[in-house]
């Protein structure tokens, strides 16, 4: 654990080369429901931000607005200084730089594991097939599923599928990775294998936005915890501060409900 905190401190000390993701005054409605209310959030390069909160608080929606899988009603989102473009080629190009990992894995069911990791490289980045395959195999080894390369997603366990999904996102060399409840659909014994891959990623300096219920991960890997409730960011703090001494009543209430089991 000490190794982790050293790495974190080193990053904190390094001059932040600008803000990578900036949300300012973002609002979104689902019909009458105001799911995102005046959200302001800035994520620096190399930072690991964990978003937690009760279900229905808008944290998944927040995550999905960052690569415009959800549109917003007002406000602005910029990634690496560029505002999110309208649907089209330009948005596709930008999405290639933003990795996303879903709760339900969403691996391409008709493609093998290897093809899943190669497809974005060859079709979006126009990488040579050979080169793409070499990279895909290296990434699959890195997340520990190298031996499953020729299987179809349905033949893998949930934990393995999610690690493939992480490899698929990493294959695009993303500037930032979004994790939308990556372990919520997993059997308990498979959660750790996914979290370990994410820990490693955080240690390697990847910028990450993680929506999760894994408080252990938040404690050990996050630079900052963002607590959301009812569509608003209620509290932002370092993990130590947040878990030992939450300021808002809403956060105290939330923590008391989840930490006493």
């Amino acid at each position: 654990m000490s190794g982790v905190s050293v790495a974190k401190d080193a990053e904190d000390a390094a001059p932040a080369s600008g803000d990578l993701v900036v949300l300012s005054n973002v609002n979104k409605h689902f019909g009458a429901l105001h799911v995102l209310q005046d959200i302001d959030l800035t994520i620096a390069r190399g930072e690991v931000v964990v978003v937690i909160g009760p279900s229905g608080s808008g944290k998944s929606t927040l995550c999905r607005t960052i690569n415009r899988l959800e549109t917003i009603d007002s406000g602005a989102i910029t990634i690496d200084g560029k505002p999110l473009p309208q649907e089209g080629r330009e948005l596709a190009r930008l999405r290639a730089d933003v990795g996303m990992v879903f709760q339900s894995f969403n691996l391409f069911a008709h493609k093998t594991v290897l093809e899943n990791v190669m497809l974005g490289q060859t079709k979006v980045r126009r990488t040579e097939k050979k080169q793409a395959e070499a990279k895909a195999r290296a990434l699959l080894d890195r997340v520990g599923v190298g031996t499953q390369a020729d299987k179809y997603p349905a033949q893998l366990s949930g934990g393995q599928q999610q690690r493939v999904a992480i490899a698929r996102a990493l294959a695009m060399d993303p500037k930032v990775m979004l994790f939308d409840e990556p372990t919520s659909a997993l059997d308990p014994e498979m959660i750790n294998e996914v979290l370990e891959v994410m820990q490693q990623l955080a240690r390697d300096g990847m910028t990450m936005i993680v929506v999760t219920h894994e408080m252990g991960f938040a404690r050990s890997a996050a630079n900052r915890v963002v607590f959301m409730a009812d569509g608003k960011i209620v509290e932002e703090a370092t993990p130590d501060q947040f878990f030992s001494n939450p300021r808002s009543d809403r956060a105290k209430d939330f923590l008391s409900k989840i930490l006493h089991h």
Binding site: N67, L69, E87, R89, A92, R93, L94, R95, A96, D97, V98, G99, M100, F102, S104, N106, L107, F108, A109, H110, L119, G120, K123, V124, R125, Y152, A154, A165, R168, A169, M172
Partner: protein
């Protein structure tokens, strides 16, 4: 005397005509139907409108009326001198395309939304997402209803006979004009159609079982 053996060359021409118009309009219907389905799920509103308009207009028009339009209006305005075979194929193909479109669209809807979201999240464009991720997975569910559509197309091609296209059903009129007993004539015509429709359903069943292995 035997109605089939005495008039076999006409019967053969009619059968080949039916196979030809079925093949050509099937290709038109399939290509156009896929394109229209793409339009109908596209994020571009004018394309969506075009797809919807096409389906609404052509699916709800009696096919005979469509043939009338194609034979008497289209050549006047667009393509004077187009062969009756081509006009018939276009009418049948355009009409069937609207059914293919809706079938493909229902297939698209069976593919979980997450598949398209994952494709878009790694930077695929709408067309790439549809072509590489969604349509291949929709194919399996679309094949059984498509088979019915193409069988219906085969039988609908009989209408082209009334518009001076040589095809199987037209042979019946030829024979009854010559005074042959109508019952055996219809039996032979029916058998001719069965050969084509059985071939179609067989081909689709083969396709279906092959898809199963690929999964």
């Amino acid at each position: 005397m035997n109605v089939l053996l005495d008039n076999f060359s006409e019967f053969r021409d009619g059968f080949i005509g039916t196979v030809e118009i079925t093949a050509v309009s099937s290709v038109i219907a399939l290509v156009l139907g896929l394109l229209l389905a793409g339009f109908r799920v596209s994020p571009v509103p004018p394309l969506r409108f075009f797809g919807t308009a096409w389906v609404t207009l052509l699916r709800n028009t009696p096919l005979t009326l469509l043939f009338l339009v194609f034979y008497f209006v289209v050549p006047e305005i667009f393509f004077p001198g187009m062969s009756s075979f081509l006009l018939g194929s276009l009418a049948l193909g355009f009409y069937t395309a609207s059914f293919v479109c809706e079938t493909v669209r229902s297939g698209i809807n069976t593919v979980p939304l997450g598949q398209a979201e994952a494709a878009r999240s790694i930077g695929m464009t709408f067309t790439q997402t549809l072509r590489l991720i969604v349509l291949p997975q929709a194919t399996r569910t679309v094949i059984p209803p498509l088979s019915s559509i193409f069988i219906a197309l085969t039988k609908n091609s009989a209408i082209a006979g009334a518009f001076s296209v040589t095809e199987l059903f037209g042979w019946q009129k030829l024979m009854s004009d010559q005074g042959y007993d109508i019952v055996p004539v219809f039996v032979w015509v029916a058998l001719g159609y069965l050969v084509v429709t059985f071939a179609i359903s067989g081909a689709f069943r083969l396709l279906e079982s092959r898809m199963e292995v690929a999964r």
